[in-house]
């Protein structure tokens, strides 16, 4: 019998040894028993080797059933159709996940997709493709916006504080960009994925296009829509709010590797706020005025304290507001201003909350009455 100079590694690498540990046959037991009888000094080494063999984990990656079936279909549809029973007449064309679009745009392989689903399956398939396409393509899309080499082709639009603007995209979508916010997207936006990166706040009216979902990336939250209108607010770091006005969206969190990990589906009238520190989505109803009035030039406060009010006004008008003394009581301010200048707004709020103000260039000084 050999193994005289065997070390732990040798045993681990010996297939007969591994078989004995993992999947023993009768003769293995005999073989190793006999060996140990002759070489009791090897016991320690063998025990160590055994531990390694049993504890070595297999890192297993899985495709789920749908992925496997989709993959088979894309293989099957791309091979010569000499023998392909039952896959001809009622061929329902379902666009493959948006990989195709991106690949096409980059001169990549094009995969013709032709499917033949049962009627009931069609609706499900579209939904599935939509949701899978987020899953499949997240790397591609997100890297397309992030990739240094593509950055030159990015178009950016940035609003300073105090200025709002409306951006019309080539696909017919419309973005109302709030002050102090910016968006960027690829130059040939339409040919690629419809992906927009947002900092700050914007209201989106998305043109319908079933084949190309519209995605907004803000902080680490991805909002995906087909044809809808919704508001995304990412002014504060680590906090992103998405409010859906019409249609349907799915809001997903992206981890540091740009993998999509958590999602929430919104119904019209629902908003969700993702708080990074807690890693959770908080979904609740919202009032339309509160979330979307900004885009129509309406300032809207509901039970706001002084800090909220002044910060909002600072951002809205692009000014600085300083309080020279403290208010007597805590604010609980509710009010609405329709396209007014700051002077009027401050006069009105000052009347309710008992303060005067003076102006020096772009700085406003607030003094509460004693």
């Amino acid at each position: 019998m050999e193994y005289k100079n065997y070390k732990v590694e040798d045993f681990v690498l010996n297939s007969r040894f591994r078989r004995w540990i993992l999947n023993p046959q009768k003769e293995d037991h005999l073989h190793w028993e006999e060996y140990l009888k002759k070489h009791p000094e090897k016991l320690v080494v063998i025990e160590e080797a055994k531990r390694i063999v049993t504890e070595l984990p297999k890192i297993d990656y899985r495709l789920d059933k749908e992925e496997k079936s989709l993959l088979w279909h894309s293989i099957s549809d791309n091979i010569s159709s000499d023998i392909s029973p039952g896959r001809s007449a009622k061929g329902e064309v379902i666009p493959m996940n948006s990989d195709v679009v991106l690949k096409k745009a980059s001169g990549h392989r094009i995969i013709r997709k032709k499917k033949n689903y049962l009627k009931i399956g069609i609706a499900a398939a579209i939904l599935l493709l939509l949701s899978l396409s987020i899953f499949f393509n997240r790397n591609l899309i997100l890297s397309a916006v992030d990739d240094e080499s593509l950055r030159a082709e990015l178009i950016s639009k940035q609003n300073p504080w105090g200025q709002k603007s409306t951006v019309f995209l080539t696909d017919g979508s419309e973005i109302v960009l709030n002050s102090g916010s910016s968006i960027s997207f690829l130059k040939d936006f339409e040919e690629h994925q419809r992906v927009v990166k947002l900092e700050g706040e914007a209201f989106f009216k998305v043109a319908k296009d079933r084949d190309r979902p519209f995605r907004v990336i803000a902080n680490n939250v991805v909002t995906q829509a087909l044809g809808t209108s919704f508001n995304v607010n990412s002014y504060s770091d680590g906090k992103t709010n998405v409010a859906l006005v019409t249609g349907k969206v799915v809001v997903t969190r992206m981890n540091s590797d740009k993998k999509l990990v958590k999602s929430v589906y919104l119904e019209p009238g629902e908003q969700t706020e993702y708080v990074e520190a807690e890693n959770l989505f908080n979904t609740k109803p919202f009032s339309l005025e509160e979330i979307t009035s900004w885009k129509d030039g309406i300032i809207y406060f509901s039970d706001a304290d002084s800090k909220q009010v002044f910060t909002y006004l600072e951002n809205w008008y692009g000014v600085k507001i300083i309080q020279s003394n403290q208010p007597k009581e805590k604010w609980n301010y509710t009010g609405e201003f329709n396209n007014l200048d700051l002077k009027n707004v401050l006069t009105s709020i000052g009347f309710a909350m008992n303060f005067d103000f003076t102006k020096d260039d772009k700085t406003y000084l607030i003094t509460y009455q004693k």
Binding site: K58, I59, L63, K103, L140
Partner: protein, 208 residues
């Protein structure tokens, strides 16, 4: 998802299950599509897992598998006979992956394997073990030490230990000589040994 997609276990496949690799392969070479689909069904999971262990990028691996099977079918007239389909597929898939990586260097975003949240781990021999914290922690650490191995070492471990291919086959898949395969495996095992023993020891101490 219904369609004319067959699952392993379907009646059509029972026939194939009983046949040897070379019989199945020969039928496929002659243009039998069920044999071809059977091959896909039987090996797609292993191929995917193997691919992901080379490069952890789902869409890249799926594309490679797709390309591999399309090529197999279209080039079946020129393919040689084999009595070891798995080995044949593994070797071809690896080539495909490397090829696509080169071609798509810019398109595809590489993800570090350290991202464990997406890695499903299966402990083949302790699958149903009741979760014990100490044990879980140890497994976690062992898993990490496996993931930290250099790419090639991880690959040989995967091929030899889990896919149970021979050194000869691995040397052909990786296009390196047998001696190098052995050296790589040895290195991997040595570093795993160190980790596993240290981890076990530390946990043992912490439990006292």
């Amino acid at each position: 998802m219904k369609g004319d997609y067959l699952h392993i276990g379907s009646e059509q496949f029972i026939l194939w299950k009983e046949r040897s690799d070379s019989e199945v392969w020969t039928s496929f070479l002659k243009g039998n599509k069920t044999a071809f689909e059977y091959i896909y069904q039987k090996y797609v999971d292993e191929l995917f897992s193997y691919g992901m262990n080379i490069r952890s990028n789902r869409s890249l691996i799926k594309d490679s598998i797709q390309d591999l099977f399309i090529d197999l079918w279209n080039r079946r007239k020129y393919l040689s006979v084999t009595d070891n389909i798995k080995f044949y597929l593994f070797r071809s898939l690896r080539r495909k992956i490397k090829h696509l990586i080169e071609r798509d260097k810019k398109l595809y975003d590489e993800h570090p394997l350290e991202n464990l949240s997406f890695v499903e781990i299966v402990f083949p021999f302790e699958q149903k073990l009741i979760a014990q914290q100490a044990n879980d922690e140890r497994k976690m650490k062992i898993k990490r030490s496996l993931l930290r191995l250099p790419e090639r070492q991880r690959e040989v471990i995967n091929l030899i230990f889990f896919e149970q291919l021979s050194y000869e086959e691995v040397s052909e898949i990786l296009s390196i000589n047998i001696k190098s395969v052995y050296t790589l495996t040895w290195k991997a095992v040595t570093s795993l040994k160190r980790n596993i023993l240290i981890i076990s020891f530390l946990l043992f101490v912490s439990l006292m």
